[in-house]
């Protein structure tokens, strides 16, 4: 029997939500047509797909408001094999994605302060502080986050996640499942993969228990196909920036990463990236760039600075610089190829342990080198992220090696991915401007 809560959720997700958001888009479109474009804007025309992105992500959060009590809800880390949860009917919430949204909407200081008031140190990841603060206060820019039935943590990007999710597990009093890939030095050994595989089996059992649903291997394989296709499509979107001019900016890439993180393994995600890819290819054919005057191509390493995207992108675009590749967005395009639906579980174990931050510095250097060569960049900005230690440790060596191996200019840029209180805007922009001037 369908409950009232479930009915509300399905109505919002499939009928009311899409119609309302479509109406909002059309209204926004009318407004935009009335407004004349700024002739002095250093950017190319805005991406049409951005409207669809807004609809897709808004719907995700809108439906989320009605999810708990209607369908099983899982809070999931960005590197978790979320595909497995889809056939069980989970609504997946990504606290990291939510924290990025809070940061872009300048709400992190208030939310992080709430966590700090509970004793969480300011040195802790700003995503963690933001989301714990949001959980403690119930405040969020998306109206409401559904209460989780299950917490799903994968430590392939950092160990902080486990402590963060343990705090959430205590706060919400719900079970926590852990996928704990061993750190990969050189090449992972078969028993490493077996260790992950065993944890994946435990995950499936727990997901079945919480959702009260059994799924077949065929259903899992089907969703893995979708996830693999989604990451490949995302990779094609990123790949479009190999062209000159790049049809979009690295900052656009940060924003458009939402679906591959939060909706991976769904048809909506793949449909969106097909749309985006086609638009990017069309722009390439027409010679339309993400910025009007692409003079220099750069690479970005580490998380974006969510609260400063607009200012930094403008600073660069005005001077003819574009981040044509970023190790962060690339990370969601790399793993898909490793997934082999004929060996569903084993290949998933391999793919999820081979993410960028779960591998040694030598591998990180080779990824950055490959990106730099593929996208033909002249320089790189390594964001030394105040509260993301795993991504930032080793960047001085990376800087040195990239300069020596590729002869490109490299800047270490100190900031924080989500908390503007840890960002000294003027000195940071001064360093970045000086770096850009050095290309003259």
């Amino acid at each position: 029997m369908i409950t009232r809560r479930r009915l509300e959720y399905e109505l919002v997700k499939h009928v009311v939500g899409p119609a309302t958001l479509r109406f909002d888009t059309l209204r926004g479109e009318l407004k935009r047509r009335k407004k004349k474009p700024r002739p002095d804007s250093p950017f190319g025309p805005p991406l049409e797909a951005a409207h669809k992105l807004k609809e897709l992500m808004s719907l995700h959060y809108l439906a989320g408001r009605y999810a708990d009590g209607a369908v099983p809800v899982a809070w999931v880390t960005s590197g978790f094999p979320v595909e497995f949860l889809r056939p069980f009917g989970f609504h997946a919430v990504y606290p990291e994605n939510h924290a990025a949204l809070c940061s872009a909407q300048k709400q992190v200081p208030e939310l992080a302060s709430a966590a700090e008031a509970e004793g969480y140190a300011t040195d802790l990841c700003s995503y963690a502080r933001c989301d714990l603060g949001s959980a403690f206060t119930g405040k969020t820019p998306v109206g409401r986050l559904p209460k989780p039935d299950l917490l799903c943590c994968c430590t392939n990007i950092c160990q902080t996640l486990l402590y963060w999710y343990r705090a959430l597990a205590t706060h919400f009093n719900v079970p926590l499942v852990l996928i704990d890939p061993p750190f990969v030095y050189g090449k992972a050994k078969p028993h490493h993969h077996q260790y992950i595989l065993d944890q994946m089996e435990e995950l499936l059992a727990e997901a079945a228990r919480v959702s009260r649903k059994q799924v077949s291997l065929a259903e899992l394989v089907e969703v893995m196909h979708l996830a693999r296709e989604g990451t490949a499509l995302w990779g094609e979107c990123l790949d479009a920036s190999r062209n000159r001019p790049a049809p979009w900016t690295g900052f656009d890439g940060f924003v458009h990463i939402g679906p591959i993180v939060a909706l991976r393994g769904t048809k909506e995600c793949n449909a969106y990236y097909r749309l985006l890819r086609d638009e990017l290819h069309d722009r390439v054919k027409k010679g339309i760039g993400g910025i009007k005057n692409e003079r220099h191509r750069l690479m970005w390493d580490n998380l974006p600075i969510w609260y400063g995207l607009r200012e930094l992108s403008t600073l660069l675009a005005e001077r003819g610089f574009n981040f044509v590749c970023t190790s962060y967005t690339n990370a969601w395009a790399e793993g898909g190829a490793l997934v082999d639906p004929s060996q569903p579980m084993a290949s998933m174990a391999r793919a999820y342990s081979h993410v960028l931050l779960n591998q040694d510095l030598k591998n990180r250097l080779s990824v950055l080198e490959r990106l730099a060569r593929t996208y033909e960049v002249e320089g790189a900005v390594l964001h030394s992220d105040r509260s993301c230690k795993p991504y930032s440790v080793g960047q001085i060596d990376l800087k040195d090696r990239l300069q020596k191996a590729l002869g490109i200019r490299v800047l270490l840029f100190e900031a924080d991915h989500a908390d503007p209180r840890a960002y000294a805007k003027e000195p940071a922009e001064n360093r970045l401007t000086a770096f850009l001037e050095s290309f003259a």
Partner: protein, 246 residues
């Protein structure tokens, strides 16, 4: 013409066609940067007429009708214009310390700046010397008289001030503390320079280059002689003028 609106001093230069400085202005930076810079530019225009203005320093964006260029680029341009050779340029400014690797063509190969705080900057020296009641003009003499170097372990300006207060209370000689301060600052600059090009010739620009004790401490820390640029305080403004000159 070029104007360098630093956190401590504002400098302006009028550059002749032959590269000579026709007019120089040097005064403490006032709280109202807009008014001050307008007056400085007006004084330079009285001598040189209507010319493009390049502005650098922390107040560069507030200089009316000027092209703003960062201190890194301007110090590099100014230093290369003077010396015509590659090397490592150290500029200890009021707010930040810059180490710039100058390429063979005077291009900025790489650079590093101190972290967000005032550790390792001219402000560090100014605050502590103020606490010790040592006039800037007598710093070198004080350091030269030091019977030994008193080690200062704090790099944070505020903590270093507390440490110095403790050292005074313990009866340490002021001269030794002054020498220790310079050694502490020099060791930070060495760490900054170490990641760039450790074997290059070292130049110094900026007002702190006039402090002989600092030059000596840096030479000792780096293990080689330091070339102080002529009129080191004006190098940024000179670079700003060069950045808009033809």
């Amino acid at each position: 013409m070029g104007i360098d609106v630093g956190s401590t001093t504002t400098k302006g230069v009028l550059l002749g066609d032959d590269g000579a400085l026709l007019e120089c202005v040097l005064e403490p930076t006032a709280p109202r940067i807009d008014e001050q810079s307008r007056e400085v530019v007006a004084r330079l225009k009285q001598k040189g007429g209507e010319l493009p203005v390049g502005a650098t320093g922390y107040g560069r964006k507030r200089v009316p009708t000027a092209r703003a260029v960062t201190e890194i680029t301007c110090h590099a341009k100014g230093a290369f214009f003077r010396l015509k050779r590659q090397g490592l340029l150290v500029d200890i400014g009021g707010q930040d310390t810059k180490v710039i690797h100058l390429g063979a063509q005077g291009d900025v190969q790489d650079f590093s700046m101190n972290d967000k705080c005032a550790a390792g900057t001219g402000r560090f020296l100014e605050v502590i010397l103020g606490r010790l009641n040592v006039p800037l003009a007598e710093v070198s003499a004080y350091a030269a008289r030091a019977p030994r170097v008193v080690s200062i372990s704090s790099t944070c300006t505020v903590f270093a001030e507390s440490e110095v207060v403790s050292l005074i209370a313990e009866g340490e000689p002021v001269e030794g503390i002054v020498k220790g301060l310079h050694a502490s600052l020099a060791s930070r600059v060495r760490a900054q320079a170490g990641t760039l090009s450790p074997s290059a010739e070292i130049f110094m620009s900026g007002g702190v280059a006039l402090n002989q004790a600092m030059v000596a401490a840096l030479a000792q820390a780096m293990g080689r002689a330091i070339t102080v640029l002529p009129e080191p305080q004006l190098i940024g403004a000179l670079g700003a003028a060069l950045s808009v000159a033809g």
